[in-house]
């Protein structure tokens, strides 16, 4: 009998303790944000979509060789006057990309890099698998809207 009463009291106390924790959390500041309306700012090292500075690229193919999933296709062309190599065709398959960032690590001229885009959905499959990295306006439709500084 005594044990039973003790168990009931201990049980009630433990549940009140738990309710105290949840009650405390009710008055804490919310940690979530209203996502589609306010967006978190990405960190400096964030690895988003693969992007290119075409004028810096020397078509050395190192990024193509290191890519673990073969997401990059590069055809080098040589300028007949200056004898310099430049990318004739440079396409990127976002479907295969695993966002590992190895391409930007091996690039000797810092031409290829991963940008800050994180909303990477497309309406058409063809647009997704063959992104022309030499075009300047390839990610215009993904331009991030106003961001909220969430992360330090």
């Amino acid at each position: 009998m005594c044990q039973k009463v003790y168990d009931i009291v201990a049980g009630v106390v433990s549940i009140l303790k738990g309710l105290g924790v949840t009650g405390k959390n009710m008055f804490r500041k919310a940690v979530t944000i209203e996502y589609p309306f306010e967006k978190p700012a990405m960190t400096a090292r964030f690895r988003g979509l693969v992007d290119l500075h075409p004028e810096q690229c020397i078509a050395c193919s190192q990024c193509v060789k290191i890519c673990p999933t073969a997401a990059l296709q590069l055809e080098a062309t040589t300028n007949p006057e200056t004898r310099k190599k430049f990318p004739g065709v440079f396409t990127y398959n976002e479907e295969l990309c695993c966002f590992c960032g190895l391409c930007q690590e091996v690039c000797p001229t810092a031409a290829i890099y991963l940008n800050q885009c994180y909303e990477v959905a497309y309406y058409r499959h063809d647009d997704l698998v063959k992104i022309d990295l030499l075009k300047a306006d390839k990610y215009v439709h993904l331009a991030p809207p106003k961001v909220k500084e969430l992360r330090p």
């Binding site: 168990d7 201990a10 049980g11 433990s14 549940i15 303790k17 738990g18 105290g20 924790v21 949840t22 405390k24 959390n25 940690v31 960190t43 400096a44 090292r45 964030f46 690895r47 290191i66 890519c67 673990p68 695993c98 966002f99 590992c100 960032g101 190895l102 690590e105 091996v106 991963l114 992360r151 330090p152």
Partner: protein
């Protein structure tokens, strides 16, 4: 009286099987007579992929094995590759590796505790508190390496980049926060009568059974075996730190929860010491991207789930001849059918939740 066995298919699409696990349960009323786990729904042939990738290229794939603790997977593979190639990372890189590995252990244990409480019926509240705290670690990782889940931060011979400015302060803030918030978990779960009644003496895993099945990690330590590779076979700089190997007494579901809770505190202790003694230097290694692989190497490390081993065989070329992953979750899952025979079906979910398996590394 005559009875008929009822076969129930639990999963592969079941919220409490922690991924795509398919359990075939044979029931006599509510009592489980037989349990047959079926795996393979998340098979991506990562070991076969490794045979067509160089070691540097394979690093992102190790993230996808145990996706809750990617840093520890990176670490295991890195150390195996370094053992094969005879490379040693710089002291600063080794300390950074310890810091990120222990942070990821805390994140992994938080998620394990949260999902375990949810499996027991404490719907959403503990899980969301755990996710809230794990989010802080993920934001630190986002700052350090630029991703939230598939980090790909470690490199053969070092790490991908030094700590960015302000990251060490973030880690210190997180440690202070986590130490302040841990008593809340104890108030919410550890002392709760319903939680204790649902998990104490449920799914007892005896010491001998655990060793026979090759169970490792917190599940083994909860059964009372003080086996921790960080202590018993120190790699990196773990022998320089002062921490305890946490063990449980009975090996029941509650002990497995309690061991994880106390391991979080030990991990915080290690992070604090590593941050305090962080040596100067360049953690980014200048090593080749392509190696000639000769011979073989096996390296095992202490993952949040147990003993993770990578076995690499080279035949002189740049690609591994064979790469084998010894995943802790596989051994931890195989003991399940021995544990839950004779139990009520509602307790099967409790035992499975307390084992904390990740299907990504079971199927590979």
């Amino acid at each position: 009286m005559d009875f008929q066995e009822l076969t129930i298919n639990m999963g592969p699409q079941h919220p409490s099987t922690h991924g795509v696990l398919f359990l075939q349960l044979k029931l006599d009323g509510e009592v489980i007579v037989d349990c047959q786990p079926h795996i393979g729904y998340l098979h991506r042939s990562i070991e076969k992929i490794a045979e067509s990738r160089s070691l540097v290229q394979f690093m992102p794939f190790t993230d996808r094995l145990d996706y809750i603790a990617s840093m520890n997977n990176n670490l295991g593979f890195c150390l195996a590759a370094e053992k094969l190639l005879g490379i040693t990372a710089s002291p600063r890189a080794q300390y950074l590796r310890v810091i990120v590995a222990e942070l990821n252990r805390v994140a992994s244990h938080l998620l394990a505790i949260g999902t375990f409480a949810q499996d027991l019926g404490a719907y959403a509240t503990p899980l969301f508190y755990a996710l809230r705290d794990r989010e802080k670690i993920i934001q630190i990782f986002d700052k350090i390496c630029g991703q939230r889940l598939t980090y790909n931060y470690l490199r053969i011979g070092g790490v991908a980049g030094d700590l960015p400015a302000g990251a060490d302060q973030l880690i210190k803030d997180f440690m202070a926060y986590q130490r302040r918030i841990l008593p809340e978990y104890h108030d919410l779960l550890t002392g709760n009568v319903i939680f204790c009644a649902r998990s104490k003496n449920i799914g007892v895993l005896p010491k001998e059974t655990a060793i026979n099945y090759g169970v490792t990690g917190p599940n083994l330590r909860a059964s009372g075996v003080a086996w921790d590779l960080r202590k018993d076979e120190p790699y990196l700089v773990y022998d320089k730190f002062d921490f305890n190997v946490v063990t449980g007494a009975n090996g029941d579901s509650w002990d497995r929860y309690d061991v994880r809770m106390r391991e979080i505190e030990e991990s915080l202790k290690i992070i604090e010491q590593a941050l305090g003694g962080l040596p100067e230097g360049d953690p980014v290694a200048k090593v080749n991207k392509v190696f000639r692989l000769n011979g073989e190497a096996y390296m095992r490390t202490e993952n949040p789930r147990g003993e993770l081993g990578f076995y690499i065989v080279g035949d002189g070329g740049p690609l591994p001849y064979r790469l084998k992953v010894r995943s802790p979750s596989f051994a931890n899952l195989s003991v399940l059918s021995a544990m839950i025979k004779g139990m009520n079906i509602s307790d099967a979910v409790c035992v499975l939740g307390s084992l904390d398996i990740v299907m990504g590394e079971i199927d590979r």
